[in-house]
């Protein structure tokens, strides 16, 4: 019967079999696709992590940070500088990169969480640009516009396949952690703050503290993505910290859908593969991306996943009513 069919479908979805399928696909990938597309896949995973970190603040908390690239970049610079300048080993540098990003998130967050709405966005943009300018100009210390080259992962991770598996593993763990965070009491409070922050405050929740914690977590995961990136192509450069880069997770999230956890991941995958594909034909990528964003804003307000979810919900409603 109709009702049973829909229920079965949504419970199939809920039970997460599709997730296991995707992970299996991820593990099988190197044996099926070419090395180049494996690299793109790795890139997509890293950028998805970046987008997920952004969506913690946007989708779940309801704020639009425009300076996330600074944390992403600090993660990358952290690992790059510790490894090349101070000869620290890969694993410690990796963790230190994340720590650096989290620390910056704490310092900047203290100032930013006092603001809401567009002022929050602009302050995050300003701080992001400030960090960019410092790294760009302090060329004696950071290598300036040259960036830092020669960031190599340990021997057993040097081949594209092994590093890909590393990225896949870190992505799964990190995404899982983020998912648990959003579905924890902490995450629910963030959602409450998004819906009605005044009321939440009246309930006795210290908003600023929760916002700051979310900000630091978001920065840490952005830094994690950056720390994964640096050894991937063996170098970092200041351009990864510009505010234009901060726009990438925003666009990916809007495309995929901010309302669902995997929205940013879907959006990132689509953009990354599409971008790599298009660059083979033309360098007029920005206009394609811009038009795509406008189309999504107008016709798919909840992003692709939001659109699908709506259709699903409507179908369920119709079935219930029939």
């Amino acid at each position: 019967m109709e009702a049973n069919k829909t229920d079965k479908k949504s419970s199939w979805l809920k039970s997460g079999w599709w997730l296991i399928l995707l992970i299996a696909a991820g593990i099988a990938a190197p044996h099926v696709i070419s090395e180049f597309y494996l690299l793109i896949l790795g890139e997509a995973l890293i950028m998805s992590l970046f987008a997920l970190s952004f969506n913690l603040l946007f989708g779940h908390m309801g704020q639009l940070p425009f300076g996330q690239a600074a944390f992403y970049g600090l993660g990358g610079y952290g690992i790059a500088m510790l490894m090349t300048k101070f000869q620290l080993n890969f694993w410690l540098s990796f963790l230190a990169g994340i720590g650096l990003a989290a620390l910056a998130g704490l310092i900047i967050g203290i100032f930013c969480v006092r603001l809401r709405g567009i002022y929050f966005s602009i302050l995050t943009l300003a701080f992001g640009q400030l960090i960019f300018v410092i790294i760009y100009k302090w060329h004696d210390f950071t290598g300036g516009d040259d960036g830092i080259q020669g960031v190599f992962p340990p021997e057993f991770l040097k081949t594209p396949i092994s590093y890909y598996y590393f990225v896949l593993l870190v992505f799964c763990i990190a995404a899982f952690i983020l998912w648990r965070i959003t579905n924890s009491p902490f995450g629910y409070i963030l959602k409450a703050m998004r819906e009605n922050s005044e009321r939440t405050e009246f309930l006795g929740i210290p908003i600023a503290r929760y916002q700051l914690t979310a900000f630091v977590i978001s920065a840490a995961f952005a830094g994690l993505a950056g720390a994964l990136w640096a050894p991937f192509y063996r170098s970092v450069a200041p351009s990864t910290l510009m505010w234009i880069k901060s726009g990438e997770p925003v666009m990916a999230t809007i495309l995929g859908g901010a309302g669902l956890f995997f929205g940013p991941v879907l959006g990132t995958f689509i953009i990354t593969f599409f971008h790599a594909y298009i660059l083979g034909f033309t360098h007029f990528w920005p206009i394609i991306m811009g038009t795509l964003i406008l189309i999504v804003i107008f016709f798919l307000p909840g992003g692709i996943l939001g659109f699908i979810k709506e259709k699903l919900d409507n179908r369920k409603k119709r079935d219930r009513q029939s």
């Binding site: 479908k9 199939w12 979805l13 599709w18 190197p30 044996h31 099926v32 696709i33 070419s34 090395e35 180049f36 597309y37 494996l38 690299l39 793109i40 896949l41 890139e43 100009k137 060329h139 300036g144 516009d145 040259d146 960036g147 080259q149 020669g150 594209p160 396949i161 990136w229 192509y233 063996r234 170098s235 970092v236 450069a237 351009s239 990864t240 879907l266 995958f269 689509i270 593969f273 790599a276 594909y277 660059l279 083979g280 360098h283 990528w285 692709i304 699908i308 259709k311 699903l312 179908r315």
Partner: protein
């Protein structure tokens, strides 16, 4: 709903499956001997590099078409694949990987931006693919971060600055107090450092009073101009170029800058075309090989070809890119193979009869002894733009770092060769 999901899944991975080359887990297949030689052009189609990249790629295309018309290199045609880095380091690294892994290029030429070049270098060096650099000229490529997988046919920052400094010193031997103005990034800093080193050698009691560091892409130089003029220097050395130099020239002129202060900068064709009548005559200029700097028969032939193909005059970028392709041809023919290691060995010490005269690739650091040009800006009735007169052509081996000098830098940066 499931259908929708599967649809999306396939949409993402369809291009992947469709384009699946050899699965990554299997070994690569060796290219057959009569296969075309694949040339990857990696350039930056953004910001100030857009126009330079277009020019360079045009120069490459003309060279490739010429060579293919004559049967290719050792009977093998050249396939040209062009990729855009968007002047971003991460995109540059990825597109280089694309060229190497998917397009399986034998050689690379490019890019424009020195920063992108360094990142690209790490990638192709690891994959053991040879790149000719004909525009990004930071010394970092062949000196500091040397790898045998790079060869340079554009004068590096040291050579260019030394040659320009000597030219300026000859014209103004009494000048002791200097200012500099250069874009604040790798290229500008290196050129000014080389200038400072060289001028101290030529004029031991010289002083650099003030160094202006506008950001690349600066549109408003007024404050820098007034700061420089306040110092009342005897001469000013500049590595400004392109749009920055155009803006600077226009803004400095009303201050009487060019009447009061001897000045030298990278005044080449694109700047002359943009400035038109605003180009300051009598001012010193340096450059890398635009046609009016070296109007030899080969060059003028190239000018005709370029004008036919593009309807414009070729600038130094097109010239150097053209030379790069011919360098690859010469090295492959000498090695009788397109195998990278053999080509590199053949290339070391090779002499190319290029559009800019003869130059040799120094075996130690793969630096070409390419000429540096200087001159004075002047009108020419043959052209709708200003050009140079009193041209000086300095062969690269008169101004490059000596082998000892290079080895000294290598000791500091940890290069072992």
């Amino acid at each position: 709903m499931l259908a929708v999901f599967v649809f999306i899944f396939t949409m993402i991975f369809a291009p992947v499956m469709a384009q699946a080359g050899a699965p990554a887990a299997k070994a690569a297949v060796k290219a057959a001997a009569k296969d075309p030689i694949r040339l990857g052009a990696i350039w930056d189609y953004a910001g100030p590099c857009y126009m330079l990249s277009e020019s360079a790629v045009q120069g490459i295309k003309i060279a490739v078409d010429e060579i293919n018309a004559k049967g290719g290199i050792m009977g093998r045609k050249i396939d040209l694949i062009v990729r855009d880095t968007e002047m971003k380091v991460d995109v540059g690294a990825r597109e280089t990987k694309d060229l190497i892994l998917r397009e399986k290029v034998n050689f690379l030429i490019g890019p424009c931006s020195s920063g992108v070049a360094l990142a690209v270098q790490v990638v192709h060096a690891e994959s053991k693919v040879l790149r000719i650099t004909c525009m990004a000229n930071t010394e970092g490529q062949v000196v500091d971060k040397f790898t045998p997988y790079v060869a340079q046919v554009v004068p590096n920052t040291y050579m260019e600055a030394v040659a320009a400094t000597r030219f300026m010193n000859k014209k103004y031997p009494a000048a002791k107090k200097f200012c500099t103005i250069a874009p604040d990034y790798e290229y500008g800093r290196r050129e000014e450092a080389a200038f400072a080193e060289e001028i101290k050698k030529l004029v031991p009691d010289s002083e650099i009073l003030y160094q202006a560091w506008p950001k690349p892409g600066e549109k408003d130089f007024t404050s820098f101009i007034t700061a420089i003029m306040a110092q009342k220097p005897d001469a000013v050395h500049s590595s400004l170029f392109g749009g920055d130099l155009v803006a600077f020239t226009k803004q400095a002129a009303p201050y009487g800058f060019f009447e009061k202060i001897p000045f030298i900068a990278l005044y080449d064709l694109p700047v002359f075309i943009a400035l038109g009548a605003d180009a300051p005559e009598g001012i010193m200029a340096f450059g890398r090989g635009c046609f009016f700097m070296d109007p030899n028969p080969k060059m003028m032939e190239f000018v005709d070809k370029y004008r036919k193909a593009r309807g414009a005059y070729p600038d130094s970028w097109a010239v150097q890119a053209y030379d790069s392709v011919y360098l690859i041809k010469a090295a492959v023919e000498k090695a009788k193979s397109s195998d990278t290691e053999k080509v590199i060995t053949a290339m070391e010490g090779i002499t190319l009869d290029s559009l800019r005269g003869k130059f040799t690739i120094r075996p130690l650091d793969h630096m070409g002894s390419v000429p540096c040009y200087q001159g004075i800006i002047a009108k020419d009735p043959n052209y709708p733009f200003k050009v140079w007169k009193d041209i000086v052509r300095v062969p690269g081996d008169q101004v490059w770092r000596s082998e000892e000098g290079v080895k000294e830098v290598w000791k500091k940066t940890g290069v072992t060769r």
